[in-house]
């Protein structure tokens, strides 16, 4: 066993001995599992004429969360996910904004919770966008409710050729919620 492996082993042993962690409740929500098979994991992009831009919203989706956390305080909420874009023709750029709300009607009325990186659209694709980061504290409180609504807004900017047959399909979307309450 070399020094690095020995160090890792000792660190792991110490971690177990000290009962690693802060004693918080962590809720990992597989948001994608609520979208899969409903059609809401896909944004169909209409034809975007050359050099023009547009936005497309998907139908908001409700996600059930563990009940009983309404008096809890959320420490952080982080989001990770990926969307794959395919198209028939055209090129340009695209990014996605993720919205959260307490009800369906106001899903898109606030500021986006997080934005993906901007991807360059190539003819045919597939082109993959990534969502990664912490949500703002204003949005964190939504995750103490028993249900949260999520919406995806795609921003598409066509290049010198029109984009046709575009589709963005979510392949993964996970929320990592750290509750501030201590249990152990």
């Amino acid at each position: 066993m070399n020094k690095t492996r020995l160090g890792l082993a000792l660190a792991a042993a110490a971690c177990v001995a000290l009962a690693c962690g802060e004693g918080h409740l962590i809720v990992n929500v597989d948001i994608f599992s609520f979208m899969q098979g409903t059609g809401k994991d896909t944004i169909t992009i209409p034809t975007i004429p050359a050099t023009l831009g547009g936005t497309v919203d998907n139908t908001p989706l409700s996600v059930q969360l563990p009940p009983g956390l309404s008096n809890s305080v959320v420490d952080t909420v982080s989001l990770t996910g990926a969307m794959v874009l395919t198209n028939t023709t055209g090129s340009g750029t695209m990014f996605v904004e993720v919205f959260f709300a307490g009800d369906s009607a106001s899903t898109y009325s606030g500021s986006p919770a997080i934005s993906s990186d901007t991807v360059t659209i190539t003819t045919g694709g597939p082109d993959t966008m990534h969502v990664r980061g912490n949500l703002t504290q204003v949005i964190d409180t939504l995750f103490t409710k028993s249900k949260v609504w999520i919406g995806l807004r795609a921003h598409v900017q066509a290049g010198v050729t029109s984009i046709t047959g575009g589709k963005g399909r979510i392949t993964a979307l996970d929320a990592h919620v750290v509750i501030n309450d201590k249990f152990f």
Binding site: V16, L18, A19, C20, G21, E22, G23, H24, L25, I26, V27, N28, V29, D30, S33, F34, Q36, S62, V63, Q64, L65, P66, P67, G68, S70, N71, V73, S146, N180, D181, K182, F183, F184
Partner: protein
């Protein structure tokens, strides 16, 4: 209605570990130092062996008054960072439960470990999983319960071995088990399945009353005042004042999928219980008895006592109710099945066996005690050298875990100072801690 998860967890975990909390409790450092063995002919021996009332005082019964020195309280006041605020960074449900299970009388040399790991819950449309981390070892592997059979007060008078008395009794056995699916979900961290039940299986019995008693204890034979064969027996007429007994299933059932547009988890449960709906108005009645035997022959002393033999109480007026979840109204509905039913209950038979052997300055002692819920075994010894005493012992507690005790003392005239150390598993982790007891004895 909403429950704080931490409060529920605390209650469940405390109950889970409460089994040993009712074990014989003594503040006497001499007894702690021998892992629970008492070399005195009082305490448990008098309580559980009817013949000891006739036995003479032994040479270890000279102590008049034992006063515990509660160093643990000072330690607790100094070290305590207990908080009930779950938002406080010091909050720890296990630490609170351990404090309840280990009242800070004894100084804790080695405190039981307190897990501080995160709890992770994984939620998907059709998946639910909980990772309790190291805390999963706290999930009991079999039924957890607390209770016992106790006699509170025993007031009476005696003439020539006969004794007329009355004592109050209380017996309870309250606990719960987890269904296999719930245990696997919490302890093994298995994924929850759809259309599956996750249940708690509560069951319990509690009864209390008083019992006039007629007893006799006397010396049958023996060569001198300090040795002989002693027998004792008591006949009790039990009058039960209050009684309740019941059990059933309570839990949740997942739907398909587990999390759809609405949470598909629904409560479920059915409980059946009976109780005295007019406690004290119509007494439960029954007969029972105790027998005891003590032999003191040379350096050997042997005793055996059995209590509450045949103690079955008939309760003339009890109510039988059921509570079941009604999926139509989404409520638990109570139904009175019979408001004037006769019920029967039993008091558990308790027993004690003990042996003591004196050789030179060394006294060996051992006992086995079942006070109605689980058996404890203690073996210990004391060696006296002038004013000094050295003690040691080993015990098997109600959790069937081996515990150790050791200690010593010094006697100066009428005053004795003793210190005893003992391992204990009276905590949620089941890992041993070490406590130190100190006491003064005025001889």
């Amino acid at each position: 209605m909403r429950f704080r998860a931490s409060a529920i967890g605390l209650a469940v975990l405390t109950a889970a570990a409460a089994v040993p909390a009712r074990a014989q409790f003594s503040f006497d450092a001499r007894r702690i130092g021998m892992a629970g063995v008492s070399l005195h002919r009082d305490g448990d021996l008098q309580r559980y062996n009817a013949a000891y009332r006739a036995a003479p005082k032994g040479k270890n019964d000279q102590g008049g008054l034992t006063i515990p020195i509660p160093l643990g309280i000072i330690q607790a006041l100094k070290d305590s960072n207990i908080t009930f605020n779950t938002k406080d960074s010091n909050f720890n449900a296990i630490a609170i439960a351990n404090l309840i299970l280990n009242p800070p009388i004894f100084y804790q040399i080695k405190k039981p470990p307190t897990p501080t790991n995160d709890i992770a819950i994984g939620v998907g449309k059709d998946s639910l999983q909980i990772d309790l981390g190291l805390a999963k070892t706290l999930i009991p592997q079999d039924r957890f319960a607390f209770g016992g059979s106790s006699r509170l007060m025993d007031i009476g008078f005696g003439i020539k071995g006969l004794r007329l008395s009355v004592f109050a009794f209380i017996e309870e056995d309250i606990g719960a088990d987890l269904s296999d699916s719930l245990r696997a979900f919490l302890r093994a961290g298995n994924q929850a399945h759809d259309t599956t039940s996750y249940d708690l299986l509560p069951s319990g019995r509690a009864q209390a009353g008083f019992a006039p008693s007629l007893g006799w204890a006397g010396k049958i034979a023996g060569p001198d005042p300090d040795h002989g064969l002693y027998l004792g027996g008591n006949v009790h007429r039990y009058f039960g004042v209050a009684y309740a007994q019941g059990g059933g299933v309570a839990g949740i059932r997942t739907g398909s999928p587990i999390f759809g547009n609405t949470v598909s988890v629904t409560p479920e449960g059915a409980l059946l219980y009976r109780f005295t709906n007019h406690p004290g108005k119509k007494f439960g009645t029954g007969m029972g008895g105790d027998v005891g035997l003590v032999v003191i022959q040379g350096p050997i002393e042997f005793g055996l006592g059995v209590n509450d033999i045949g103690a079955t109480l008939t309760w003339p007026q009890t109510e039988i109710d059921s509570v079941a979840y009604d999926p139509v109204t989404n409520k638990f509905v109570k139904t009175v099945l019979d408001s004037n039913a006769q019920s029967k209950s039993k008091l558990p038979t308790s027993y004690i066996g003990n042996v003591t052997y004196h050789t030179g300055d060394i006294t060996f002692g051992a006992n086995i005690l079942n006070s109605g819920r689980g058996t404890t075994v203690h073996v210990g010894a004391e060696k006296r050298v002038g004013p000094f005493a050295v003690r040691g012992g080993v015990a098997r507690d109600r959790r069937k875990q081996i515990q150790f005790g050791w200690g010593g003392g010094v006697r100066l005239g009428f005053l004795g100072l003793d210190v005893g150390f003992a391992t204990t598993s009276q905590n949620l982790s089941s890992e041993r801690g070490i406590v130190m007891a100190t006491s003064l004895t005025i001889y």
